[in-house]
Symmetry: C2
Subunit: 348 residues, 2 copies
Amino acid sequence: MDITLLAKEITQRSSIEVSPKDVERLLGALRKARLPWDVVDLSDFPVPAVFESIRLLEEKGLLTVSENGFRLTQEGRTLAREVHPLEDLSCPACEGRGISLSRFSDIEKRFLRIQKGRPKPVRNFDQGYVTPKTTLFRFALAYERGDVVGKDIIILGDDDLMSIVLGLSGLPRKITVVEIDKRLTDFIQETAEKEGFQVRVETFDLRHPLPKEHVKAYDTFFTDPPETLKAADAFIGRGIAALRSTGSAGYFGFTRREASLSKWYELQKMLLKYRIVFTDIIHNFNEYVNWGYEEETKAWRLSPVKVKPKRNWYRSALYRFETLSGFKGNFKDYGDENIYEDIESSTT
Amino acid sequence: MDITLLAKEITQRSSIEVSPKDVERLLGALRKARLPWDVVDLSDFPVPAVFESIRLLEEKGLLTVSENGFRLTQEGRTLAREVHPLEDLSCPACEGRGISLSRFSDIEKRFLRIQKGRPKPVRNFDQGYVTPKTTLFRFALAYERGDVVGKDIIILGDDDLMSIVLGLSGLPRKITVVEIDKRLTDFIQETAEKEGFQVRVETFDLRHPLPKEHVKAYDTFFTDPPETLKAADAFIGRGIAALRSTGSAGYFGFTRREASLSKWYELQKMLLKYRIVFTDIIHNFNEYVNWGYEEETKAWRLSPVKVKPKRNWYRSALYRFETLSGFKGNFKDYGDENIYEDIESSTT
């Protein structure tokens, strides 16, 4: 069985570009895990293509599917043994993020307590949010890179509660949150009052251009866009529009679970056109909490086995970039277009 | 004193794009360090621009220069206190790389012993090499990403002795080294014989296109190009030409010490044209051993204080990318053009 040919067939059947390396990772994953969500996590390519691969491997007699999950056949195990054994070598201290939280143990303690009262995610806002540790690590990274102290910061969509960690630190000069969900803005504002920090909260739809007062008004932005190119262009492009000068910084998450490397490529080309430069791409930096409405998603419908995930399985890379002289944001109006779904997405 | 104006003046005088964020980092660095190389390390922008900044700060009365190094004046300290305090929050366990070496303690021990006998760097080959730990971490990262086991691997310029670590592991299917320095190729071949692994060593000049037999013949390549765009295009472009299929992987280092973020931007745009996609950019992954011929470099001539570096100060980010369908390498012939120097470089 030739892995390159398998990759080609999966690409054809799923219409998502899948490389031999992706198939190798999938085979490695199948030696370690049986449940669909764990296999997706380790395989690190789009859900619809992973499940299409499972079907193909089953047809070829390399794998069986039962209510207990996936199981390689004798032939499947022989093939899998030829490829790279999948092993997690990420640093246990920082979980692969390269950053230490120890400087912020007080903020950590307070935030871990506060976030317990947060509103749960709602499906129509695509609100998979990250673990509180992820938010804290993101804050520490931005602090180290010089994007927090004395800075004006805007957060475009704050289901990760970045504004609360920033507020607790007392370090930024100004914090603005743009968020469409009133339960979240209420929670952030109540927390700000209780903990005694300032945060300005606004509600608007990022499909429309940024209101003038926010254009070129910030040093740093954070966002975690839905994983389509259009949504990334809208959210990140608005973020760039909000930035003030050269050397301003943007942070966003982008996953492989709903984006092939072809989509990553288009994303990188698209963003470079704004005259920004990538300074960091940190693998699996963001870990998402299982959102509870799994059964309503496309991923669930596609899954060959209907079991709820037992552990967190959705991760994304953290991108950081800086602006260069002549940078420009995105002022296009998407109206009420559905920019949130494409062929590779599956969690809405 | 306005930091944005300072950044503009440094940009004009040095002809290297320097952002307010760069100047902020420099001011932060000056609160922590006095010696030129330590200040460059922490400031993380090109050496000629850092030293031009020092001159400007001196003219403005913000700083004094003596044989003991740089010292902020009262006014300088006031300005520096307004900006971000520079702090190293990188994870102490992995030194910010996000990867654990523990799986490879045997290879680590053997390599640390072997590399002690390595030839020292020679100036005319631009051979600043990384610490042995860096080479080991690079290996572990590539292993985890599935780019080592059973793979055909080519190393374009091997002053970092990657071939030896790969050989000791016994994991790749084939290892080829392209290296111009006979002392290094001899050392690698002697080591291979002694330790009982296979490595094929070839000598050719990467300014010329890759010999046919190496085109589309490898799964993975490593290189650490000189920090000009042309040299990066030549070295990395040859690496891409050597890769076999979609999902093949390339690794290279790129620093900020000799490259502004404008040059990073041009690099990223240039490489995307080959239809590769960046999967990882890991800050300060590569730490270089002080090369001993400091006094002969442009950096030394530019330095306001002539002292030899006491600790390692030269670092670079590690880039990883994968190829996409339709990817193409660089087959241009640069003849005997000097592709190794530009206005931002200073260590040759």
